[in-house]
Amino acid sequence: MEEPVITVDGVVKRFGRDVRALDGLSLTIPAGVIYGLLGPNGAGKTTLIRILATLLPADAGVVRVAGFDVRRDAEAVRARIGLAGQYAAIDNHLTGRENTEMVGRLYGLSRRDARTRTATVLERIGLIDVADRRVKTYSGGMRRRIDLAACLVGRPQVLFLDEPTTGVDPASRRELWELIRDLVGGGTTVVLTTQYLEEADHLAHRIAVINRGRLGSEGTTQQLKDRTGGAVLELSIPDTQHAAAIESLRHVTAVPASYDRQRGALVLPATDGVATLREALRALDTAAITPTDVGLHKPSLDDVFLTLTGADHTVGPGRPFAAVADTGAHEGSETS
C-alpha cells in the first residue's frame, strides 16, 4: 500500500485545564478516498480538522499531511490543502468570481492563471451562470458551492470540509455529494465531518467515529455495520418502565440500551443475535417488565453510531444527531 496522505499519531489537544478536545487520537487516511469524521457534538471533529489544516497546534502527537509535518512545514502543507470551514468563509459584497479569483491569487497564482482557473472551477461546480452576481444574492447551497470553488482553485491535494452540507436543503445536498465524489475521481483526498449519518453512509469510503476526543471505531461503512454484531434488538416498552428496563438490561450487552425516539423503542446491539434476544427477555422478565413489541433487525449506521459512542441521542436517517447542532449553541465555543 502507498503511504497514507494523512497520519495522525497520538494527538492531544487541551483547551484550558479541563477540556481534552482530543485525547490521544491516532488514525491514518489513505490517498484518494472520502474520509468521514463522525461523532456527537463536542467530540473533537472540528478541532481535528483545524489541526490538520495548520490552524491549531496540537499539544502532543505527530500530524503529517501530504508528506509534511503540520508544525514544522506548515507552509508546505498549506500549499497542498483546501479548507471549507463550518461556515462559508466568503465575502458577501464580492461576486462569486471575485471571491474565487482572490483565493486563487492568495494560493500564489498569477492574475491570468487565477482568472482562467476560476472560470474552469466555476464551470465545473455549476456556478458559471451566476459568477458575476454578488454572493449576497446566493442561496445557502450556492454559498456552500462557491466556498468549495474557492478551495478548489488552488488544486489542493487534500480537501477538508467541516460539515459541508449543514443548512443545505436535501436536493442541494445531493448535488454537493455528487460534486465531492467527482473531486475524488480527480485524485483529491477529501476529509469531511458531518452531523448526518446518511451523509457518511452515502459518501464516505471510510469512517472514523470519534467520541470525546478518542477514536471510537474506524473502517469502511460495511465493516462498522458488521462490527455491531450484525443485528440490533428493538424493544417497545411502556414509557414509565424505561429506566427500570435499561437498568435490568445492563448486564446483557457491553453497551447499555438507549431510547430511540424515532422508533419509539429501546435499542441495543444484539451481538449474539437470537441468544442476545433470549437473554434480554429473560432479564426483563426478572424485572417484571413485559415488552409490547420485540424486533431484531440489521443495523443502520445510526445503530452503529449509538453502539460505538454509547450516546443517548435520538437520531434518524438524515437528521442531525441533536437539534442543538443547528441552533449555533455549540458554535460559540468552537470559533472562539
Binding site: T54, P57, D91, M102, R105, G108
Partner: protein, 275 residues
Amino acid sequence: MSIIAVTPRRLSRALTHTAVLTRRNLLANLRLPDVLLLSTIQPVTFMLMFLYVFGGAIESALPPVAQGAYINWLIPGILAQSAVFGAGPTAYGLNNDRATGVIDRFRSLPMARSAVLAGRTLADLTRSTAILLLQLGVGVALGFRWQANVFGLAAGVAVALAFGYACSWIMATLGLAVRNTEAIQAAVYLVVFPFTLVSSVFLPTRTMPGWLQTFAENQPITIVANALRGLMLGQGALVPGQTVTGQTMLAIAWTAAILAVFAPLSVRVYRRSVS
C-alpha cells in the same frame, strides 16, 4: 515555527497579497453604498455640529491667529480627530473577519501572514484619506482659511493620516484581542472618546481643571492637533514655548512609537488569537 528569511520572492509575495486584500477591503466599502454614504456624512455632520454649537461661545477665547473664526481653530483639530476615528473600522473589520471564518481561510492558505493586517490597515488609511480631504473641502467652502502655505497644509494632512495609520494598529490589536463582536464597539469608543474629547481638538485646554489639563496637553491627539494647527495656521496657533517644528517632531515620534509597539503586538495577537 521556523524563522523565515526575507527573500525578494517572499517580499514580492507579501506585497502582492497585501494589494489583493487591500482591494478586497476597499471593495467592501464601495459596494455598500449605505455604509459608504453614512460613514462620509457622519464626520462632516459632526464637524458642522461642533462648528455651529460651540463656535459662538468659543471665538473670544481663541488665539489671534484664528482671526476670531472658530472654523480656523476647529478644522485642524477635526482632521486629527477624524484620522483617529478612521482607525476604528480596522478593529471592526478584523473582528468580523475572524467571526465569519475568513481569517481561518486565510491562515489555511500559503499566503504572507503580514498581508492580512497590512491589507486591512492600508484600506482603512485609504478611506481615512478620502474622508479627511472631504472634510477639508467642506471646511474651506465654509470659510476655513489656512494661514501657512499649501505645503504646510499638505504636511498637516500627512501628519494626521500617519498618526491615524498608527492608531489602526492599536485597533487591529483590539479587534483581534476582544472576541465579542458587541464588546468591540464599546472597546473602541472607550479608547477613542476620552482621548479625542480631553484634548485640544475642540477647545483650547486652558479652561480645564489642572489635572485634566496636564493630561490633555500631553496626550498624543493634542500634540497631533497642535502640530496640525502649527503647520496650517502658523506659530501663532501655539502657546508660548511650543514651536511648529517641535510639535511636528513630537507628533511623528508618537506615531513611530505607537507603530513600534502595536504593529508587532497585533501580529502576535493575530498569530495566537486564531489558534
